[in-house]
Assembly symmetry: C2
Homo-oligomer: 279 residues x 2
């Protein structure tokens, strides 16, 4: 496995792979890899001739008060996991390479960015779409793999890739959970044992909501109310029921919807969601 540090070298390497007829599957990450990332990397390796993972903690998607500084960084362990899975190249540029003095170009997805986390984290989405565009231009992938856990990220990047004619297939992979249901997240490392226990209410409330939808409930207000009741022990940021593609809130469950929740456990903000298809 090779480690590449600059967009120019990354792009040259990727174009050389393509030149020999190989397909490229990429997994953009911020490192601190867990089983969720592993599932994406395994799929990228299985469905493409070469798998590339990026490790870059992107300052543009954190607000000044957020956890950019303390976000977990474990480069050696991340590379070991990637190599063990069969990733061919890791792309790990530094911040100065990605955003040199005078940097000023941004990619925005206007409406989908307003959904879910958009209200609480106004610059977050723009940071994600901008860095993913840069990573795509460097890794020149045929397919890119993202986890459903950040449902907004998946929706925004699908929209962006389609709108900008990127010609990249965006593959959304299911959430990977701990045995007790907690969605895997690099930020779970921040939780105290007590917070870790309380955090379970996110997934449990969402699963209970899925049960009542399967029993026929279609009223979004009632479903959201049930989720919020189950999350009484945490500081809720939002609970939303939205169309899975547009992320526009819906009043009535129809087609494919996403039911998403965000909450604070102490200073740690966690997100989780389920998708549901109404027949």
């Amino acid at each position: 496995m090779i480690i590449i540090r600059t967009p120019r070298e990354m792009r040259e390497w990727a174009l050389a792979q393509r030149q020999t007829g190989k397909t490229i599957g990429c997994v953009p990450t911020m490192g601190a890899l867990h089983e969720g990332h592993a599932s994406l990397m395994r799929e990228a390796v299985a469905k493409n001739d070469v798998g590339v993972a990026s490790l870059f903690v992107n300052p543009k998607q954190f607000a000044p008060h957020e956890d950019f500084g303390k976000y977990p960084r474990m480069f050696e362990a991340d590379c070991a996991m990637a190599e063990q899975i069969g990733i061919t190249a890791v792309y790990a540029p530094d911040v100065e390479t990605m955003y040199p003095d005078g940097y000023q170009t941004y990619v925005t997805v206007e409406e989908v960015s307003q959904g879910l986390c958009g209200a609480a984290r106004p610059h977050h989405c723009r940071g994600v779409t901008t860095v993913v565009t840069k990573l795509f231009n460097a890794m020149v992938p045929h397919r890119a793999y993202f986890g459903q856990k950040d449902a907004q990220q998946c929706a925004v990047i699908k929209r962006m890739a389609r709108d900008l004619d990127m010609g990249i297939e965006i593959v959304e992979m299911p959430i990977v959970r701990e045995a007790d249901g907690l969605a895997m997240s690099s930020r779970n490392a921040y939780l105290s044992p007590e917070e870790r226990q309380r955090a379970l209410c996110l997934s449990r409330s969402l699963f209970r909501a899925r049960d009542i939808m399967e029993l026929g409930e279609r009223n979004a207000r009632k479903i959201i109310h049930a989720v919020r009741e189950g999350m009484a022990d945490v500081d809720i940021d939002y609970v939303e029921l939205a169309d899975a593609d547009s992320l526009k809130p819906v009043e009535h469950v129809q087609g494919t919807i996403v039911l998403a929740a965000a909450a604070f456990l102490g200073k740690t903000r966690l997100i989780d969601n389920i998708k549901f298809e109404a027949k």
Copy 2:
């Protein structure tokens, strides 16, 4: 010469060319081709294995009150010129293909977009950077050719390509002028004979300003004043003297500057500029 109508087919064609080791030079245009465009296409054909030109009148770079509806369209003549020059493929998508219902993704270059025409045409630059990103993603060029006449467009696209790690060389080609000095423009077709005559004051005033800079004048206020004096017969939109890369106005001429003017002749807005390098 082949004509391609969709981003998917364009990208497949371009990637197939690259697969065989060929380099691609592209010329994004809004059609209504004149000698200025011809000079770009000739360079693209000369310096690359294949030349691709796009013909697309981009609604996103016109404000509602501007001339999108009446912008000259002459597809057959444009294709004939491109073929005669040796262009291998013309990319001519329609508006619905480029901006289907639900379209919502934009690329913005924040600071450089504020210079020159940025004040008078706030959405213009965003429309240009967005469509050029889409055209680049479809044509997958090694090099792209733009005319210096739209100095802001050149500066913004260079910045965008660098910031987003596009890996495309942006080549800026000199302004092509009529025998009497008028910069070639598709919009010159709008001018009445009387307006055509009055329009000469743009290039003449800029050339005179170059003369006084060559004689040693470095005070931007004095240079701009001289240009404005020479444009007394037209409705001036702006005259600006700015750093050629950042487009920030300068008070003192140093390094490479652009001296740019925009003016209305009746309803027709024309632009022109010169670049000057202070030793």
